[in-house]
């Protein structure tokens, strides 16, 4: 259990903070989205079987 999370921090509110953090943050957000994209393509072949 995450002891920090008595509050719903909001998924979008967490990601947008990376972007607010400057160039390095934008890179983190881009990496997050890139990984999500790659994961989706990786999952697709197995989903079809």
């Amino acid at each position: 259990m995450n002891h920090l999370a008595y509050l719903d921090a909001g998924s979008g509110s967490l990601i947008v903070q990376a972007v607010v953090g400057g160039v390095a943050g934008v890179a983190v957000a881009a990496k997050l989205y890139w990984r999500r994209l790659v994961d989706r393509f990786r999952k697709q072949p197995t989903d079809q079987h």
Binding site: A9, S11, L14, Q17, G21, G25, R35
Partner: protein, 472 residues
């Protein structure tokens, strides 16, 4: 809610975080902690940054209570400094909200390098000692986990940043927005207000538009999954710090120039002669000095705070209530520059004071439930209520007497119907609408609720001041 045999009363505003809870015990403010929160408190007390914040007065005074029995189910008890008068963010002016937001960010910036963060980011984490903001939610500090953004960012936006954007960029008063919504303004609402080129104003594109878009795109992603993804993508504590620094720079720029306001020049334009003013000041000071020192004094309709300052010589704490946010903002800036710690300026319409809000209507206490005073100033305010707002005169007197327990002092000014200011208000109402609005009737009504100790007709002849004792 009271715990049997312990005399503890639960603070209605403290229930959202199950790890700790605030109770009142007589005049004491106590915070009980569960096992985990108690361990975190020990780590916090042993840190370098927290004692420094305490010593600077930026966090409310906090000490462990070793002697009192710990209520069942809890592991430790802390005692907090008592905040003289609890106020709500929708009673603050723009600059007050901005200073409160900056303090929250400064505290977070001090905590992060030491390995701590705050669990939330609400405007309700802050209170005032006069014109000095103070962070009160000591239970909010918790060890930071590397790779995690600030959990309080959304709350910070909704209750602090967005209201400031409304004021700084659109010239709107934020108070009605915060008063109607305990959780603040949603990004979706802000996006609609900041359409077109307005999205180019500082802070708007990222904290409003991008924030709203991210929320909608990730509505079905759990925060636990997103935290894992962000950590894997390399989100670091340095990035979290950079975000806080960026927010600090932005909030520092969100200044609002007070709009031209009728009330800003009221003291100069309201028609008092120098003789009137001298007589009034001397009467007010004498009235306040006549009885025992007041713990809490209210100045209702405080304007530029001239009489609130007089009251501060005879009271431990003065709450100066004024309807016009621009006037309150100017007063706050002046008090802040003087380092004033005993006068709290608040924005409120006396004919529409803060109601109870939040859960069950008691989470945010109504003004009437907080404002139990030993001294009340109501100078040049009765005619605004009785004529300007059509409040029946007996109601006005009843309301004034209701602020104090028996023995409390009232200093009230009655503006005669022939006075130029009263005539100006009466000119907008049909003739004969207020047959009871007369000096003799006001005095009779005041006498039914109070003992009138002294009265003074100002030299201009159209205003009378009364010193009265409630229930006398």
């Amino acid at each position: 809610m009271a715990y049997p045999d312990t005399g503890l009363r639960a603070e209605p505003a403290s229930f959202r975080d199950p790890a700790n809870r605030v109770y009142h015990h007589g005049d004491e403010v106590l915070r009980v902690l569960d096992e985990r929160a108690a361990a975190e408190w020990r780590a916090l007390a042993a840190s370098d940054f927290f004692p420094a914040l305490l010593a600077e007065g930026r966090v409310c005074g906090t000490e462990p209570v070793e002697t009192a029995p710990v209520p069942e189910g809890w592991a430790a008890v802390l005692r907090h400094e008592r905040i003289p008068f609890v106020s709500h963010p929708y009673e603050w002016s723009h600059t007050m909200l901005r200073d409160a937001a900056l303090l929250h960010l400064q505290i977070l910036r001090a905590a992060l390098p030491a390995g701590f963060t705050t669990k939330d980011g609400s405007a309700y984490n802050l209170q005032w000692r006069g014109a000095q903001p103070v962070f009160i939610d000591v239970g909010s500090f918790t060890p930071v986990r590397d790779g995690e953004p600030w959990a309080g960012y959304r709350q910070f936006c909704q209750t602090l940043l967005y209201p400031l954007l409304l004021g700084a960029h659109l010239g709107l008063d934020f108070q009605p927005w915060l008063r109607s919504r305990v959780d603040g303004i949603e990004p979706d609402e802000m996006r609609r207000l900041f359409a077109g080129v307005r999205r180019l104003r500082p802070g708007v594109f990222t904290h409003v538009h991008l924030h709203d878009a991210m929320q909608r795109r990730n509505a079905r992603a759990s925060t636990a999954d997103v935290r894992t993804q962000l950590r894997a993508a390399g989100y670091s504590r340095e990035l979290a710090l950079a975000t806080v620094r960026g927010l600090e720079r932005l909030v520092g720029r969100l200044d609002r120039q007070p709009p031209a306001s009728h009330w800003i020049d009221y003291q100069r334009t309201c028609g008092y002669s120098a003789a009137d003013r001298a007589a009034k000041e001397s009467f007010v000071a004498g009235s306040l000095a006549a009885g025992p020192r007041a713990r809490l004094a209210l100045d209702l309709g405080a304007n530029d705070g001239r009489y609130a300052r007089l009251a501060a010589d005879h009271a431990d704490y003065v709450v100066a209530v004024e309807q016009d946010p621009a006037v309150v903002d100017r007063l706050y800036r002046a008090l802040r520059a003087e380092g004033e710690r005993h006068i709290l300026p608040l924005v409120m319409d006396l004919a529409d004071p803060s109601p109870g809000g939040g859960w069950r209507g008691v989470e945010r206490a109504a003004f009437a439930d907080r404002a139990r005073a030993d001294a009340v100033l109501a100078l040049a305010v009765v005619h605004h209520l009785a004529i300007g707002r059509n409040v029946p005169l007996p109601e006005v007197v009843d309301w004034l007497a209701g602020f104090g327990a028996p023995g409390a002092r009232l200093v009230v000014e009655f503006v005669h119907p022939e006075d130029p200011m009263a005539l100006r208000l009466l000119a907008n109402k049909p003739d004969g609408l207020f047959p009871d609005y007369r000096r003799d009737e006001f005095e009779r009504l005041l006498g039914t609720r109070c003992r009138i100790e002294n009265r003074l007709d100002l030299p201009s002849g159209t205003r009378t001041l009364y010193r009265a004792v409630v229930g006398g």
